[in-house]
């Protein structure tokens, strides 16, 4: 449905997207994952014919974005990062306007407006001015305008950004329910979002493709590694960081210990287990046995950065991890030089 080949987009000084290739099958939901500034929005803008590519090709439903933009636009529904709403228009008026732009008319237009209002739960704000809507409603109206002409491809740029947790869940359910009829690409920097909604993941960083894989495989690759945040305090004041760190590292099954923070004799560590090892119990026992206080012990989720590290190879990841201990900004050390493409 979507085929991107060697796509490159250069701005005046920077290369936002660097030779990215991927393809998306019909009916799939694909998550476009990457930290801020990775080139997600740029790639989506190329796919929607908003920006022309500097090099390479992109086709949607067999139509090239440069040669037949009108055919591509007809088949695409697009929700930009900020929903493109006119504050002075009422919701239904706005949806009718967008519907007409996309080529709908007459009874069909009325039907589609009713349909998307129901589908996106905005029926109760149909007569309200868009400028007066809350962020959650604005986002949903944005989604409604994207699906108004029943497009084959939906491109959603951070559809859940700025929503509250309840709205995020509703929006994810909504997106999931749209799959099948539509091929969906959604961008995000939140990992659980991809796990919950997508079947396929495309990970990019600094304009380069890091990995494309199914969510299932990605989880399998990273599963079995436990990441634990641990806060230790000394009984009576002083507590030596290195001592504690050594102690923790000696526990069997522990792969890395990161000293994260220390305040008022409280030390915070992030501990990562080796693959397939559960270390939480041992950690707790070791701390208590040494006569220290265990203030906190919780499982930390896999951050996107760690996924990157995982994906870019074991030993290199370890090196990068060690480097990250010294560096103040761990993001700098993400090894983007080694691309793995699955």
């Amino acid at each position: 449905m979507i085929a991107v080949k060697e796509l490159t987009k250069r701005y005046a000084r920077t290369t936002a997207v660097d030779r990215i290739s991927f393809s998306v099958e019909k009916g799939q939901i694909v998550g476009f994952l990457g930290p801020n500034g990775a080139g997600k929005t740029t790639t989506m803008r190329v796919l929607t014919c908003f920006l022309p590519p500097s090099a390479g090709t992109a086709t949607v439903a067999g139509f090239d974005v440069l040669d037949q933009p009108r055919e591509v636009k007809r088949r695409i529904g697009y929700l930009p990062e900020t929903p493109p709403l006119y504050p002075e228009m009422a919701t239904s008026e706005y949806l009718r306007f967008v519907g007409k732009l996309k080529g709908l008319s007459g009874a069909e237009l009325d039907k589609r407006v009713d349909y998307v209002c129901g589908r996106c739960f905005i029926s109760d704000v149909r007569q309200k001015l868009l400028g007066k809507l809350s962020k959650g409603y604005r986002q949903r109206v944005g989604l409604a305008q994207a699906i108004i002409h029943n497009p084959e491809v939906l491109i959603l740029d951070e559809p859940t950004a700025g929503l509250d947790p309840k709205q995020i869940n509703e929006t994810r359910d909504l997106i999931r329910s749209l799959a099948g009829d539509h091929t969906i690409i959604l961008s995000t920097h939140i990992l659980p979002e991809v796990e919950q909604t997508c079947e396929q993941v495309i990970i990019i960083n600094k304009g380069k493709l890091v990995a494309t894989d199914s969510v299932h495989n990605l989880q399998a690759r990273t599963r079995g590694v436990e990441s634990v945040v641990l806060e230790v305090a000394g009984r009576d004041g002083e507590l030596e960081t290195e001592l504690v760190q050594q102690k923790l590292e000696q526990i069997p099954g522990v792969a890395h210990v990161l000293h994260k923070d220390s305040r008022d004799h409280h030390l915070v560590f992030e501990v990562q287990s080796q693959k397939g090892q559960l270390v939480r119990g041992d950690l707790a026992r070791a701390v208590v046995a040494s006569g220290w206080d265990l203030n906190e012990l919780r499982a930390a989720g896999m951050s996107l950065e760690e996924i990157f590290l995982e994906l870019t190879g074991g030993e290199k990841a370890a090196e990068a991890k060690d480097a990250a201990v010294q560096a103040t900004e761990p993001a700098e050390t993400t090894p983007n030089s080694s691309e793995t493409q699955a």
């Binding site: 929607t48 636009k73 697009y78 930009p80 493109p84 006119y86 504050p87 996309k102």
Partner: protein
């Protein structure tokens, strides 16, 4: 064609739900009403003086009221038109709604024409305000209606040209104030260009004099349709809208 109409109606809606349309209509009504009152008073007093002196010069409403009034309206509207066009593209660029238009299956030209027609329609509504003054002339006097119609045609063409320039300048910036200020400056320069003919002569002055939008309006105010003036305005409108199209296209390559 349908898309032009869709966009035009949306833009008109935006004008008329915001205070800007009503503000412009009110201000143009008040200002043209004032000019009308001044001109009419002068006309009446002159008529009375002539009667007292027993002279009977031919007095002409068309020559002495309508023609100067149309010229004045042309000048006043020069100040107001940037307020109409400033938001056309600058606002879309600032709020990001340009992404919606640019990713919809409509041509750039349709977007531009839709917006320009909407601006022209609002401008035409502004022109109706001085028409209220003319009604009194027709009720109490017997002016010739044809010069009035021709004058209106001229104002429409003149305004269309300014609106095309303003639409173009609106695509260049995200800031409405800048769009309005630059549009005003450009229109004003085009207006006063012919002053150079006062002290300059030769080819250079001829060209500047020709570019000046006001020289071409004279004939319309007199009630004469000169094809060369019509061609001048239509060419200007075309150039302005063409530049808008190029600018809109380049937005995608530059951004």
């Amino acid at each position: 064609m349908r898309n032009i109409w869709t966009i035009c109606r949306k833009e008109l809606g935006s004008y008329f739900v915001s205070p800007i349309a009503y503000l412009l209509l009110t201000v143009s009504g008040v200002v043209s009403g004032f000019f009308f009152w001044v001109l009419l008073s002068g006309f009446v007093i002159e008529g009375m003086e002539m009667q007292m002196r027993g002279e009977s010069f031919p007095m002409n409403i068309n020559e002495q009221i309508i023609r100067p009034l149309l010229m004045n309206i042309g000048v006043i509207f020069l100040f107001f038109l940037p307020l109409i066009t400033m938001r056309l593209f600058a606002e879309e660029k600032r709020s990001g709604t340009i992404e919606l238009l640019a990713t919809s299956p409509v041509r750039d030209l349709e977007i531009i024409l839709g917006k320009w027609f909407a601006a022209l329609t609002l401008y035409a509504c502004m022109l109706l305000m001085p028409a209220l003054d003319f009604i009194f002339l027709f009720v109490y006097g017997k002016p010739d209606w044809k010069p009035v119609a021709v004058g209106y045609l001229g104002l429409l063409l003149l305004g269309g040209l300014f609106l095309a320039i303003g639409t173009f300048i609106s695509t260049l910036t995200k800031n409405q104030i800048i769009a309005a200020a630059v549009t005003f400056a450009v229109c004003l320069l085009l207006w006063v260009m012919e002053w150079t003919t006062n002290f300059e002569s030769g080819n250079w002055a001829d060209v500047l004099g020709y570019i000046s939008v006001i020289t071409h309006f004279d004939s319309f105010a007199k009630g004469v349709i000169e094809s060369k003036d019509v061609v001048f305005y239509l060419t200007g409108i075309f150039v302005g809208l063409f530049a808008t199209a190029r600018s809109l296209e380049s937005l995608r390559w530059r951004s």
